[in-house]
Amino acid sequence: MIAIRFTINGHAETIEAPPMKRLLDVLREDLHLTGTKEGCGEGECGACAVLIDGDLVNSCLIPILQAESTEIITIEGLAIDEKLHPIQQCFLEQGGAQCGICTPGMILATHHLLEKNPQPTLLQIQEGLNGNLCRCTGYMRIFNAVLQAAVAEAAK
């Protein structure tokens, strides 16, 4: 067991964990942040995606040791005071969420994409989200949600 310090959704946190424990398990088991989902456990599906220091990562592939002194944002950190983040609002309005299990990762991937490229083309959206699998939507409504979010962000 070692002590790891990091910032999670704006709060400083110290946890005791085996150094190779997956960040995903620390989030879900130690911090009870169950919005981050496990889909495949091997970095293929993106359901466990979180932001570490602004980078989009699959938390199933990150040993907690690597989280030392980082800033982590999960789906729980996006809405402020019960008001949906514009990306969440667009996913809700456009039908970008069906079963909802890929949605947290998909929304964080969208956040990451729009941070880097506030006005993406459809092709750039397809490239930006291709590490996040969805089995329900066929992705069309997700693309619509991202395009609408880009407009909303631009209007901010």
Partner: protein
């Protein structure tokens, strides 16, 4: 229709929706399953490695089952836990539970089981040979079910075959397909000697699990409580399988005295749970030189895996959809579900129909080629129309206009211009482009007398605050059950959508509105919600509390008044079979489905002759599903189904090695990503149906049927090669395109091949 936000959507986008693995109960333990490592054999010994502190574990074997050792679906052939023999790889033998989840994999690996191996079979052909009988005996040897479906119960007269201008033969195959919901199967079970069992979990059909638990535990239904948790995708993969994992977790809970969570990881879920049935379809068709279908013989076989599970009903839907939306003067379908030593196959969106429709729609393009007319013209000369009889003898009384549908779909997709353009550009391009289509129908609701047997009930009650709450066992797993049922109630009660509540399915609180399968929820359950809402409203009006023409405020005032006077208000509606509906299981004739959805799907493809990969570049869908209740959800159903259909056709291959799924991970079982999906255009032809609420029909399974044949028809246009098997991967295209030209069906010319067109005689 309107498109309000989905009921549980806010919780989902916030990451607050609680799926089963997000739930922790006090003193909860974790479960794991010890499975067979061989496809078939006799268990000779089980040893526990002394390196593991077994006293800390709860270990369950078949001897711990208080009731019957069976997972019941349609027959009792499927053991809950294997005792002396195993019939497929990954068959459950023992169950383990421990407070620490992370040490379970090592414990599973430390149970050493030895076997006396028996010969195993893996294909429909091996099963048909009956050299090794792995299931049943006599006429049922290796055969779960057979059907004979003949139009008018008449066999095809010899003269038809003798006088036909052409006889066209073909064989078509489809592979297994993994549902690949992103949330794996999982449950949490609790047991108490007084209250019985409670299972929470990811599932489609809570009452199926109640029924399974009654048998395994020999308990009455009221002591088997099942609660659906938020469910992260299902597609049929959580129709029958929760009966297995739910029974297992409950056995561990009973023996350990703790709540037990049993959630599979991806590798276990893919290796051990059900897939779409692989199929083989053989067509023999008599056609006139005018392109009229004279008679068809269809042999339809599916691989059911090691136990019957739902194979007989999957086979039934596949059989009834095998003739497609065409008028056959004579038709014979011989269908069978065969046993193999593969983990049992089960429900997957479409439920047998995608298999037989793939075969038929490829075969229709072949017939067109043989006769020398276009695929469009062949279909136009044979479409069913209003008033015609289907192959089961059902008269199509609701309006059907496939001629118009085809015209509109081909116009929307610019089919003729695109086809001409590709014909012009392909000869000088390494990228070969093509366009193809499929025309098809899909029956909504349970097959035949199924809805009458289900006898579904729906209730609406007033909450203490006077808000209407819908009580159904119909589950939400992404398709929009919660949302559309609330819309229907809101519309009927003249209340805003936000005022309607829907309860989480809990079998002790909700009536049995049937399983959430078979494209039945919007049409059948929706209609019951409409009727229950009407009756609720009528009660309030009759009580004198509600004027005929009322505002939402009037309603809530009346509701509170009624509650103050009577304490509660609950109205129910029970399914009533429409008059003069007749179905005969013996002759397979009558009203197969209450209503059909009709569709034309058009695919554009590009085949790269350098990499041999095929991609779908554009996709148009036109469908008639009655009135659309929620346009965004409905389009989402179509788009999602098309994406699964693209995967079925071009990417998703289950690779079996000695009965084990070799690619049981997302790394090498490939589903479409954002980068693989073309623009999917969704258009609805809205014709109000008399069967569903507000004129709606079923929609969920339909989009799974059309993409695969449309895509392979387009690939034939692009390459001139008639592929007959899916999945069609680049290596398959490479193998065929680099082969020295030989006599595949694509080289058939009437003058060369003579009047019988099959690969064998070409």
């Amino acid at each position: 229709g309107q498109s309000p936000p989905r009921k549980e959507g806010r919780a989902k986008v916030l990451g607050r929706a609680l799926y089963i693995d997000d739930i922790t109960l006090p003193d909860m333990w974790f479960g794991a399953t010890v499975r067979s490592t061989i496809p078939r054999g006799r268990i000779s010994s089980i040893a526990f490695d002394p390196a593991i502190p077994w006293h800390e574990f709860t270990i369950v074997s078949a001897a711990d089952i208080p009731g019957e050792n069976t997972i019941v679906h349609l027959t009792k052939d499927h053991p809950c836990l294997a005792v002396t023999h195993v019939n497929h790889a990954e068959e459950p033998i023992l169950l383990l539970a421990h407070p620490n989840r992370s040490i379970l994999p090592a414990a599973v690996a430390a149970v050493h089981i030895t076997y006396e191996e028996l010969p195993a079979i893996y294909t429909i052909e091996d099963s048909e040979k009956k050299e090794h009988i792995i299931w049943g005996e006599g006429e049922h040897a290796n055969t779960f079910k057979t059907y004979l479906m003949q139009k008018n119960q008449t066999s095809i007269p010899d003269e038809i075959w003798q006088q036909a201008d052409f006889i066209v033969e073909g064989e078509y195959r489809t592979g297994a397909q993994e549902q690949l919901y992103i949330e794996n199967n999982g449950v949490i079970a609790e047991y108490s000697a007084t209250d019985g069992i409670t299972v929470r979990g990811s599932m489609q059909c809570p009452f199926y699990l109640v029924h399974a638990l009654e048998l395994v535990f020999n308990l009455p239904a009221e002591k088997c409580r099942v609660i659906q948790a938020e469910t992260g995708g299902a597609f049929g993969g959580k129709e029958d399988f929760p009966s297995v994992i739910g029974s297992h977790a409950a056995l561990l809970a009973m023996k350990s005295g703790h709540p037990v969570k049993l959630c599979y990881d991806r590798a276990e879920d893919m290796a051990a749970t059900t897939k779409r049935h692989p199929s083989r379809t053989r067509h023999r068709t008599a056609v006139s030189k005018e392109g009229k279908l004279l008679a068809g013989e269809i042999d339809f076989a599916i691989d059911g895996g090691a136990y019957a599970t739902l194979s007989p009903v999957v086979l039934s839907r596949g059989t009834i959809h095998a003739p497609g939306p065409y008028n056959w003067p004579y038709l014979t379908v011989r269908a069978k579900a065969m046993a193999t030593n593969i983990p049992p196959h089960g429900a997957f969106r479409g439920f047998g129909a995608p298999q037989s429709i793939f075969a038929l729609e490829r075969h229709m393009d072949k017939i067109a080629k043989v006769v020398g007319i276009t695929p469009e013209e062949l279909r136009r000369r044979n479409f069913l129309a209003t008033g015609d009889r289907t192959a089961t003898g059902q008269i199509l009384t609701d309006p059907v206009d496939m001629q118009h549908m085809l015209t509109r779909a081909l116009e929307d997709s610019n089919y003729h211009a695109r086809r001409a353009e590709f014909d012009r550009t392909n000869p000088t391009s390494t990228i070969k482009r093509g366009i193809g289509f499929a025309t098809f129908f899909h029956g909504a609701g349970f097959t035949g007398s199924g809805e009458r047997r289900l006898n579904s009930i729906v209730a609406i009650e007033l909450t203490p605050e006077g808000r209407p709450q819908i009580l159904v066992s119909s589950t939400e797993f992404g398709q929009g059950t919660n949302t559309i049922l609330c819309q229907i109630a809101a519309e009927t009660l003249h209340l805003p959508y936000d005022h309607i509540l829907i309860a989480q399915p809990d079998t002790t609180l909700v009536p049995n509105s049937g399983p959430t399968v078979a494209s039945r929820t919007a049409m059948i359950v929706g209609k019951l919600v409409e009727r229950a809402a009407q009756s609720l409203c009528a009660t309030l009006v009759a009580g004198g509390h509600l004027p005929q023409d009322y505002s939402p405020e009037d309603f809530h005032r009346a509701a509170r008044h009624h509650l103050a006077q009577h304490g509660a208000l609950r109205s129910e509606a029970r399914y009533e079979s429409p008059a003069n509906v007749f179905w005969d299981d013996e002759t397979y004739s009558g009203e197969a489905y209450p209503a059909y959805a009709w569709a034309v799907y058009v695919a554009e493809v590009a085949v790269d002759t350098t990499t041999y990969s095929a991609t779908v570049t554009n996709f148009h869908t036109l469908q008639e599903v009655g009135n659309v209740i929620h346009p965004i959800l409905a389009a989402g159903q179509i788009e999602g189904g098309v994406a699964q259909g693209i995967g079925y056709a071009l990417y998703e291959k289950c690779l079996w090695r000695n009965g084990h799924l070799a690619n049981n991970q997302m790394t090498n079982y490939i589903i479409p990503t954002t980068a693989d999906i073309p623009p999917i255009h969704v258009t609805f032809e809205q014709v109000p149906s008399p069967h569903g609420p507000g004129g709606a029909k079923g929609i969920g399974e339909l989009p799974m049927d059309g993409p695969a044949p449309a895509i392979l028809n387009a690939i034939e246009h692009a390459t001139g090669i008639s592929f007959t098997e899916i999945p069609l991967l680049p290596e398959d295209i490479f193998e065929r395109m680099t082969r020295i030209p030989d006599a595949g069906s694509e080289s058939l010319e009437p003058a060369i091949a003579g009047p019988i067109f099959s690969e064998a005689t070409a």
